[in-house]
Amino acid sequence: MDLEELKSLAKQLPEHQPTEDGAQALRDTLLAAVNKEQIRKRVFSPWLAAAAVAAAAAIAFFAGSRSASSPTADSITVAASPVLTSPDGAQFDRHSIEVDGKNVEEVRLHGGSLRVATEETQHPLRVVTKNALLQGTSSFSVEATEDELRAVHVQSGRLQVVIDNQPPIVLGPGESWVKPETQLIELAVRAESDQEGTAESDQEGTAESDQEGTAESDQEGTAESDQEGTPESDQERTADATVKATNRTVAAAKIKQNETVKKPMPRFSPGASLEPESAAPVETENPVEDTDSSEQAEEPEAAPIPSTTELAFDAGYRAVKRGDYAQGLRQLALAIAETDDTDLRADARYWRIVALARSGRATLAQRAMQEFLQVHKADSRGGEVATMLGWIYVEQGKTALARPLFEKGSTDASLRVRDSAQAGLETITK
């Protein structure tokens, strides 16, 4: 066979090309990811970094000259500033470092709690503990014990949190990360490193572990977890999510509602929501008695105009329901990236998991599940997501990782989730 023949044959090899929708969805996901990266970059502009360095130096100078006690050799604790306050006398150092060729102020937190407010001043600052890195334009409080991150709560803006070299989590306003009491995540991380350390001697690095176990779980893991977890979501979970959405809408319109109302409502219907009629309070079985009806009569209620992120979520949710996963992923990615509403973000992340799992994108689905469990610990769908992720780990042979997840699922309110989790535990035991 001559060279030309070989080349000609090689050009007939099958190739993978995305559909138009798939390519568009990928484009949107890519730009959303890049947008997050840009937010991170914007925080560290060189001028702001220079200003921060100057401010830090000034603070250090005044603190040093006014303080009678000399600092220890390895830890110079600097006075707090409006950007950084310490309610309980936290132990921390501040210094300037170079990141991507730019000076950034780094706060090394050893213990105690700090309040950081960089959103208004655009102060380029990041907080580091032994096991975590926090950065972003936001106001947040952070607590560490024994050099390790214990909790972080974001009041406003966005904060990127990297813990134990895991993929970053982006926290929005009102969101928190707390070191799990059950040590679930720690157990998972430790077990994962144990498993990989013993089974695979030729480790290349942590980044690659994200990509492991994709093809097999594509075939079996997601299919099973999809069967186990998501059908129920069409019924019970939807109702739960719609109640949340309804609550959000009503709150936005400043309509006092009886909180015991759990009547399932359809999600936003973009066209209908803009009509005055649909802006009326949700019809309740127990109408609120203390509502001032005379005021209502004189002052018509403001229409709960859905935000663009609500509309994006609604479009994504509907697309997933009708099986258009590419469109669903596109819209949900927009909702997650743009919204400041924790509930909406939880809903969007949940349906993104469903869309990824159903479209067979196991790697991303797995990552999305891990993120969901870390960020939305108290969410009612936590047990279901944990069980889905547990089944993926079972398919990958990572039973040590799967066990705590199934244990979480086995206490879920839903019988189907409990049954599935129980079956998972039995599978592991065998």
């Binding site: 070989l6 080349k7 090899l13 484009r27 890519l30 290349e204 690659e208 093809a215």
Partner: protein
């Protein structure tokens, strides 16, 4: 209020704007212009899909992830493009590196690799006169998977994507001599496998 019957001065339609070069788009990416990345994606995603699907030998969903990772790396590394080769070859080089990391972990996981069963099956019903060619393509596909990653990248870049040796060597960051050796080895092994009828 406009006077009735007044005509606007005749204007020649403006020339359509000249599309920006890939290099200009990359420069725009380097200063954070997201739209530029969108345009680069539009121009190059199809060749990149083709390239990665041939060197990664994985199912479609993984190819999508690899393409996405590649473009994210393009965005992050845009400022490091110095214009020594074409943007396309530079993107392919990044794609080859991203795929290399992916393949290493995949190989570890599937070290008892049953590549024949993993490979997507082609349609059974084909015209008779195409059967022989199709069989050869199948054989070549299997043989390609047996090459080392470096040999496969060299072969796909030079012999399938028709990239020049200079560009290909630059794209994957090796000397030309190294590239030619890899390409030579790849061609030799593929020929041997095809002629021996190994599957």
């Amino acid at each position: 209020m406009r006077a009735p019957g007044k005509l606007l001065a005749f204007r020649r339609p403006a020339e359509p704007p000249t599309p920006l070069s890939d290099e200009a788009l990359l420069a725009a990416c380097a200063v954070g212009e997201q739209a530029a990345l969108g345009t680069i994606y539009d121009r190059h995603h199809r060749p990149l899909f083709r390239f990665i699907s041939r060197i990664a030998c994985g199912p479609g969903s993984d190819v999508e992830d690899l393409v996405q990772c590649t473009f994210i790396e393009v965005w992050k590394s845009a400022s490091r493009f110095h214009g020594k080769g074409t943007v396309r070859s530079w993107i392919f080089g990044i794609g080859a590196n991203v795929s290399r990391h992916y393949i290493r972990s995949e190989v570890r996981r599937r070290f008892a690799m049953d590549d024949l069963s993993e490979r997507p099956q082609r349609d059974v019903a084909r015209p008779d006169d195409n059967v022989a060619t199709a069989q050869m393509v199948d054989k070549l596909s299997a043989a390609l998977e047996r090459l080392t990653h470096d040999q496969r990248v060299a072969f796909v870049l030079c012999d399938i994507e028709d990239m020049s040796g200079v560009d290909a060597a630059r794209a994957i960051g090796v000397r030309q001599g190294t590239l030619w050796r890899r390409l030579h080895d790849a061609r030799k092994r593929l020929r041997n496998d095809l002629e021996a009828g190994v599957r």
